[in-house]
Structures are given as structure tokens and as C-alpha cells.
Subunit: 341 residues, 2 copies
Amino acid sequence: MAGRKARGAGSGAGITSRDVAKALNISQSTVSRAFTPGASISPALRDRIFAAAEKVGYRPNLLARGLIAGKSNLIGVVLARQTNLLYPELLYELSGRLAERGYQVLLFPIGDAASVQDAINRIWSFRVDAVLATGVLDEAAVSAFEQHGLPLVMFNRVFDLPISSVSCDFAAGARDLATRLLKAGHRDIGLVGGPEGSFVGAEVERGVRAALAGWADARLSVAHVDYRYESAAEALKLLRREDGGLPGALLCVNDTVAAGCLDQLRGTLGRTVPGDVSVVTFGGFGPARWQSYRLTGMQQPMDQMTDAAIELLVGRIADSQSGVERRSFLPVFMEGDTAAI
Amino acid sequence: MAGRKARGAGSGAGITSRDVAKALNISQSTVSRAFTPGASISPALRDRIFAAAEKVGYRPNLLARGLIAGKSNLIGVVLARQTNLLYPELLYELSGRLAERGYQVLLFPIGDAASVQDAINRIWSFRVDAVLATGVLDEAAVSAFEQHGLPLVMFNRVFDLPISSVSCDFAAGARDLATRLLKAGHRDIGLVGGPEGSFVGAEVERGVRAALAGWADARLSVAHVDYRYESAAEALKLLRREDGGLPGALLCVNDTVAAGCLDQLRGTLGRTVPGDVSVVTFGGFGPARWQSYRLTGMQQPMDQMTDAAIELLVGRIADSQSGVERRSFLPVFMEGDTAAI
DNA sequence: CTGAAAGCGCTTACAG
DNA sequence: CTGAAAGCGCTTACAG
């Protein structure tokens, strides 16, 4: 039982600036200044303080610093279930580059609608400096952030509301892809979109329709399914014409469902790709580039998008008056083996 | 310039328990008690406080609470570049289940050796309650945690040091896989291991050798490459015998490199799988189950492993005297199309 | 059940 | 360049 009142995590846990000050017979505020970049302190004393701090294992408590500075150096990331599947490198890259600027990423997973409100409450309670949201947030949730005055940046989702965002220009990419298909002679296009209400799905559809506008003899059918590999079978069922035929070209909103379509077509349905059917996609996810798939399509410039997200986040923290900014990035065409274009 | 002293993130940012207290003409400590589960307060007053808090948008500042409680409710996760690729669901599941227990995941990405020390310093500065580490940490880094008295749980890495860990039993799984290959008639096995010094690679090799011990006519060759898809070509080059032949069975440490081997064999090298060569793997990563791959092998019970990690983390926080515990989980055999076993 | 006071570990004017 | 003091927003004995 003895000693169980020792606070925190163990041996070095309770060391404060006061301990370092005592060891050196100086004031606590001087120790604090040694760890404050730009503060007025003699270099010699600072070196002694650093040495003493090193010896006793002192590190400034960032929670306390955050409390007084009104700045936690925490960036909240709202994480949806599929985020890591769609953007496997995002979290690592984002957190790495933010760390260089002194920020740490705090994760807020969201599931159903109930947990969204819960996550917002926790985000608020942790006094994060800004929030990046991937995945589904509705307008009500987004407004809640603004009410709290919390800088919010959306990733791959643009609202009509005044919210900053970084996104791939799916509409332009889809228009480009559809135009390539049309020029290659395709007139019957099937769109494998996201779930009903999906932002990406709507944008892609908009782009495809814009491309089709100039071609009177072209037709489009749309299937709304979720993003899973397994949903491809359902999508293909939905896209069948009355005569039982399938569109000669499939435009998919992401790699996973595109891979599913490819396997369905080549396997169960006995079609050749791109001989009988062309398949194009939005992606860049590793396996879509593996030799057995090599999907033709558009690749999101994730590297630039990540940098842009960081700039927006950090910019709004530095200057809370800085306005809403939407950055949109054109995807780049990616050669592959699945489309005759 | 006016109003630029407003602290924090904007409108609701500066609301404290004192504001709520003032609005209700009660003391600040009473407001605090309303938000402390189990604290002594009349239900009627608590309801009034909750209502007032709701109206002005007050939420307790968890940083301040953490400061005084000596407990931040933060769990640090050391994130390596390949973590999300190897375990795409880990972060979402882990953070979601921890959130249910009131903990938040704080990310600490690590790259080169320099950044490991840096990450440890930041972890320490944020006063996280415990740390889960995936990916590479050397013994020195691990010892640093123990010196600070920081509860540490390793994921899929076991040290000789007294460190808690959750891991898949790669050795047992590899022994099982190798035995299946041997019983199916294979006598020439190639191991595509992880990089030199990799824990998983060493464990798998140990397991395979244990299986081979009973079979005098069996032989094993080992190639150490990294985990990337592209490394498969190099691995196959390393595994060639002097007569130019390849082992009849390939045991790969993960899905990505196994998929690479499969594509190399079926593509460039013109072999049939599993006709000419059998390929088995450790994994469960989605694309390895897609129809074009359907890799045969062992699947890690990620769900149980995630739960175990949470129990260990939370357990050590609740009772810092709780001892070191290593939990090991047997992988389960996964049928597929790539091995004649 | 409620309030006044001390204190968590820091930063930051303010004097000297 | 350094120190004493106030205060960030909370929790928690201690009285009443």
C-alpha cells in the first residue's frame, strides 16, 4: 500500500519545473523561460538548466502549457471506418508533417449518428486547436463546429456552407474519364457510384453527365452501392439493361468496388476486360496497381492534398480571422490494363 | 485589431465553469461537482447546471481536469509508416473501443531513428497515460519508456525485456503452415521473410525450422526483403537454386509480398500456382482475399488482439503495479487458391 | 448538499 | 537577465 499515492505513471512522472529550479537554486520561472523559445535568459544558465533537466528527466508538461496558452497543439481528426481503407497513407503523412510543426493528431472515430454528437463533444472538451474531418459529417454536425468557433477543414467533401475544404476535383476527373470513353467509341456507360447521398458519387455523376451532354446518342445508367469489394455484384445487377446486356464501360468511384467489378466480369460473368467491357476508377490505392488488376483511371494527388490540408489547418489556427478557403486538386490520369481508351 | 485578445478558437472558446456558476449564482465548485460522476450534489441543482451549461455551450476542459487528476485520458500510439497498410482496421477499432472507456488516441508517427527519440520526448511531454507501439522500436527506445515509468504495450513484437505485449503467434502459425506443406509432399521450401532483424521474420523462420526438424530430406532457403509488393522479384531472385530452379513452396510473411510473388510467378515467370509452386502467407488484409488472389495462409485474429491490447493498456493505467503480461494469439488457417495443401 | 480555498504545472506581465 | 506573483480551468479536501 505504501507509496500508492505517487501521482501519474511512475518513477519520473512527478518531475516539474520546480524540481529543476530547486536543484539549481533558481526560480521556477527561470526554468520555464529556458524552455520558452525566444524568452529572455542567459545562454549559460539555459545550458545548466537543460543539463539539470536532462539529469532528472524533466520535460515541460504540455497540458499545463496548453491550459495557460489557450492552445493545446492538438489537431483533432475525425475518423470514419473506411478512412484508412480509402487513404491508407493519410494518417501517417498528416501526423508526421504536423509533428514537424509542433502539432499532435488526436483521433476521434465516428460510427453511427449518435457517436457523431458524442465525438463533437469530446473534441470540444479536449480543446483541440483545429479539426480535420474525413468521411461523413452532416450539415448539422458541421455547423456545431462553427458554433463552437472550432476551425474545421473537410477532406474530400465540400459543403454549400462556408467551410474550408481540401478535395480532389472528382467532377472534372469524371468528365475527363467519360470523355475518353466517349472518344474511344463507348456510348453506353454505367456509373458505379457511392451510396445514395455520397458527395463523391454526386460529383462524379455530375462530371459524367457534363461529358455526355455533347453526345446525343450516349446513355448513362447509375448504380448506388457502398464502397465495398463485395458490392460489385449488386452494382452489376442494377446496371443490367432490360435485354440483359451490360454497359460497355463501367466508371467506378473507387478502387475497391472497381476491383470487385473486374473480378465479377472476368470471373462469374465470363467477360473479357477491356475487350468486352472497359472499367475505369478513381483511386491510387496500392493493390489497384498490382499486376492482376492494374486499373485504368484517375489518381488523387494525395501528397498535395495532405499538404494543403495542413496549410489550411495551421493557417486558421494562426489567424482565426482567416477566411474560408476551398482547395480543389485535379486528379491525374493513370494508365492501366482495364480500359480500351 | 480590436478583440484579437479573445483566447482560443472563437465564440464559445472561453466559457468556463465560472461562467456557468455566475449565471446561476452558485459557486464554481458546485458546477464542477455537477460534472464529476459520483460527486455529492442535489439532482435538481445538477439538472439546472446541465441546462445552463447547454445553453451557454459549456463543456469541462479535459486538459485542466487532466492536470489536476494526474491523468490525461490520452493513449499514445506509436505509428510506423506501414502500420496502416499491415493493419488497416487497427486504428479505427482501437480508437473506437478506447473512446467507449473514455480514452482518446494521440498519434506519434515515427520514421528514422532520430524521430524515435523525438517521439518519445513528445509522448512524455503530453503526459499520455499509456502507449501502444506498433512497428519498429529498439530496446533502447523501449527502455526509455520504462525509465519514465510509462506503461507500454507492444503490438506484434515481443522483447526479452519485461515489456507487455500482444501478438500473433507467428512461430506456431508458421510451424502449422510448414507442416501442411510437408505433408502435402513439399520438400523444398522458400521463406520470404521480413527485413533482416525483423521480429516477425525471425519468429516465422523459427516455426518453419521446427516443422522441418522431423523431415530429414526437407530443405529451407530464406530471403530477407522488405514488406513491399515490389520486393517479390528480388525475393524470388534470392531464392533461386544454383540449377536455376525455384522452391516448390513459398512461405511469405505478409500478404503484400505474397501477392507480389504470386504475380511474379504467374506473370513474368510463367509458372502456375498452385500447380508448379504453392504460395502461403500471413495476413487477412482485404485485397489478399479478392478473387484474383485468394491467398492461402494464416489469418491474425485482429479483433481479439485489439481487445487484448485495450485490456492491457487500461489495466496498467488502473493499477500501475500490475505486472508485465504477454498475450499471444494463434492465427487461424485460411483456405485459398494458392497452395496444394 | 454547498462554498471558500488551495493547488495541479505551467506562462507571462511586472519589478528590480 | 532574474524572481515573486497572478492566473489558466479545473478538482478536492475541508468546513459549515
